[in-house]
Every structure is written in structure tokens, then in C-alpha cells.
Subunit: 118 residues, 2 copies
């Protein structure tokens, strides 16, 4: 097990769909969230705004089954290869990276976020 470098207790996690290879999102994890992810096989993150660990999909049902965890050369970033249920993005898109920097939307919405989050 490679020793990870956490910055202020957190490490960024890039999440990639293992099948389509699409980059779905980037989130942050603390040591406990990484450990919960390894133990359960489902992605857990640390919310910097809510200051707590959350399980991806706990509310929406859009779980991420983590098939492989990689780290980079500097061991300060993680890459999760996942099997994504439903939309990764809380706005209903399959990926959070659904638009270009100049605002062009690249994908259709998969779900209506108002139907998923109350």
C-alpha cells in the first residue's frame, strides 16, 4: 500500500468511468473516506462545504462501484475507475464535465435533478 500525501487532510480524487473511460467528476477524500471506499467498494468522499464524509449516491441512488484505485507518481492524487449507476453529476448529466469553458453543452441530461434530489 503506497503512502499517500494528504494536503490539509485531503486528497483530490479523479473519477473515471471504467467502461466508457469518461472523466465523470473530481471530488476530495480524507483518509477515512479512502478507507471506507476500500472497505465497502463504493466511493465515499469528504465534503469541504458540509465538512463531513458522504457516500456518492446515498441520496440519489447514483452509486459508484469502485473497480480500481490508482495513485499518481507523487502519490498526492487518486484515480477511481468506477461503474457508475445513473448520472454522476447532481445536475443530471452523466459527467460533471458536460460543457466547454466557453459554455457549450456537450451532452444531454440523463435525469431531471428535481426528481432525484428533494
Amino acid at each position: 500500500m503506497i503512502e499517500l500525501y494528504y494536503q490539509n487532510g485531503l486528497i483530490p480524487v479523479v473519477v473515471q468511468d471504467a467502461e466508457t473511460r469518461e472523466v465523470l467528476m473530481v471530488a476530495w477524500a480524507d483518509e477515512k473516506a479512502v478507507s471506507l471506499t476500500q472497505k465497502t467498494g463504493y466511493a465515499h468522499y469528504y465534503s469541504r462545504s458540509r465538512k463531513k464524509i458522504w457516500k456518492k449516491g446515498e441520496e440519489s441512488g447514483h452509486l459508484q462501484r469502485v473497480l480500481q484505485i490508482r495513485t499518481d507518481c507523487d502519490a498526492d492524487t487518486l484515480l477511481y475507475l468506477v461503474s457508475q449507476s445513473g448520472a454522476a453529476c447532481h445536475l443530471g448529466y452523466r459527467s460533471c464535465f458536460f460543457r466547454t469553458l466557453d459554455g457549450h453543452v456537450l451532452f444531454e441530461r440523463m435525469t431531471d435533478p428535481e426528481m432525484v434530489y428533494k
Copy 2:
């Protein structure tokens, strides 16, 4: 042009090979590095250790031609789709994410880093 949210002047950038869809690396950019990337079409980042902007490949020749820039739902992360010359990783691997968290190396080295960096 979408307004980006920089944290302490920096935004994380996920770099993906546009052809193979492999996640190559994660780096940080400040506003000037993003602007230089847009202007030149080649990836520029901000080094937190050296406290300066660097052009990817300026020493190694392993340039990244940026084909598309995306941002995520929160506009606090960027995704660069690139055409990568040579190895993205300074250790000579095509991707910085060349190993699993338990230390299993997934790829062969492409280049000998000692031949690239003096």
C-alpha cells in the same frame, strides 16, 4: 466564457488523452496559466513548489496540445483533452497514474527519465 472559481488563486486541471481517453495527470493552474493555454494551444500549469508557471514539455519536449477545455458543474475544476507527445509522467510512464494504490505497476515505461531530464 464561464467564470471559474479559483481556490487561493489555483484551479485543479485533469488531463486526459483525447484519443486513448487515458487520464494522464492532474496539475494546477492559475488564471495566467489558463490564459496562456488558451492563447498558445499548449498546456501551461502553475507549479506550487517552484511558485511559477511552467509549460508542459518545455524541458522534456513532451508537449501537450490542448484540443478542448471543459469545466465541471461547479466551475472549480478543469478538464483538458490533449494530444500528448511522449510520456506525460516525469518518471517516463505515459500516464502519472501508472500504479494501483497497493503498488502494482500497470504500464511499461515509455522513456528513461534520465535521458530526458538532466
